[in-house]
Amino acid sequence: MSSILKKTYEWIDKRVQLETLVEFMGKKYVPVHRHSIWYYFGGVSLFLFIIQVVTGILLLLYYKGSEQLAFESIQFIMSKVQFGWLIRSIHSWAANLFILSAFIHMFSVFFERSYREPREITWITGMFMLFLGMGFGFSGYLLPWNELAFFATKVGTDIAGVLPFVGKPIMVFLRGGDEVTGATLSRFFGFHVAVLPGIFTVLLSIHLVLVQRQGMSEPMGMENVPASERKTMPFFPNFLLRDLLFWLIVLNVLAILAVFFPWELGKKADAFASAPAGIRPEWYFMFMFQTLKFIPAKVLFIDGEVLGVLLFGAAGLLWMIVPFWDRKSSRGEKSRLINYVGLFVVVYIIIFTTLGYVL
């Protein structure tokens, strides 16, 4: 058996030089230090994304993306298809864990200043992937065509519509019309299973190639530590095996959540029913949503919502281009400002998310 494997390996190696690939991966060293644990969250996000692709494709075999059939097709998946409930529950739970893990990954990169020169492109592709991830969540949320999702989508797309000049066209583009209808469902379905995965895959490839080529960034100040005292471990196979162990843990957590807290379906959306109480966006939009509630209807002569959307847009942009304004870190000096900004954002998100659920 093992000789067959060996022969196969040699056969392929002779044609595509696997040796260099192994060498390429083996040359990367992962720094070992007390913050090493954070290095795993990128890998966890990757793992969860792969799960989404696999379970998403499985759902596609039975899901029907139309106003008349979407809800019913998911009922069918959950009650008739063997293990259908499990696949759907995994897709829903992994979606949330994916966003959570991506957020943790982003903040750890931020506090480590790993975005500093020469890894600006890695940071920016990562940020775009996080936005796309939220887009996946927003579009996927509507697909079951239930009451909660229907109104959450109305509110979400209407918020986009408040922007001056570009708002209305964006809203109409997203909704596929002036209202949230079956046309919206078709569009969101297309975004969710084709447009977003396509763009995401391109970004992910760039992100991973860069990480592999540039190697892992070392924590700031590591340059001053004598080389003999710097600890590292080879990416292949040492770190990869640890990665796999971590993935196994995540898989267990996911399985427990998906089995013991199966995802609800709720009531079918009805454009001629009143909005039920408890309409809320997914938790990762909550801090923005809650902020909008606190901004008065009019600030000076600007609409509260417009102001909120513009502020979040500006903040997001600043956050995304941090490698370009934080010159200090690129020069190797520790900037306190970055710590304060990061801490402020983390605390803000936690407080406003909590408020969204308790108020």
Binding site: F151, A271, F272, G278, I279
Partner: protein, 151 residues
């Protein structure tokens, strides 16, 4: 032909090529981008033009109640006050588009999405809604109740 003239004509030839290629490229981009954007813009659906809908018999509409009625493809809320008066408003919240409902216990039109409230005249009285609800006309002909657009 002298050298300068030669160069002159070479240059104008090159310019000509530049314009043709540049213009061609632009035309090509436009002929790809324009249809693409036009395609993405959803066509205007022929609105179901309704001017009036029949709701039902007056006797079937309870006092102190509110019901959502289908008006073309828009929801309308029909209220009947405790003294029997009928009123109708657009049921689409002026805040962010949710569909409102009548809250007997509070005696207001209520929007669950962000706790917006309107009174019996459709006026926004609490919460985030920025404008009153559009009013519709209610007409009672014999036993039948009709709702129609406010002219």
């Amino acid at each position: 032909m002298d050298g300068a003239g030669n160069m002159q004509s070479e240059k104008s030839k090159r310019d000509f090529l530049k314009y043709v290629l540049g213009g061609g490229l632009m035309a090509w981009v436009a002929s790809v981008v324009y249809p693409l954007f036009a395609y993405l813009k959803p066509p205007k659906q022929a609105e179901v033009e309704v001017s009036s809908v029949k709701v039902g018999k007056l006797a079937t509409i309870e006092k102190d109640s509110g019901t959502i009625v289908r008006f073309g493809n828009k929801p309308v809320i029909l209220l009947r006050t405790s003294n029997g008066e009928l009123r109708a408003f657009s049921a689409t919240c002026t805040h962010l588009d949710c569909t409102v409902q009548y809250r007997k216990d509070l005696g207001v039109i209520w929007c669950a999405c962000h706790n917006g409230k309107y009174d019996f005249n459709g006026k926004n009285i609490a919460g985030p809604p920025p404008r009153p609800l559009d009013e519709f006309r209610v007409v009672v002909q014999g036993e039948e109740v009709f709702i129609s657009k406010n002219a």
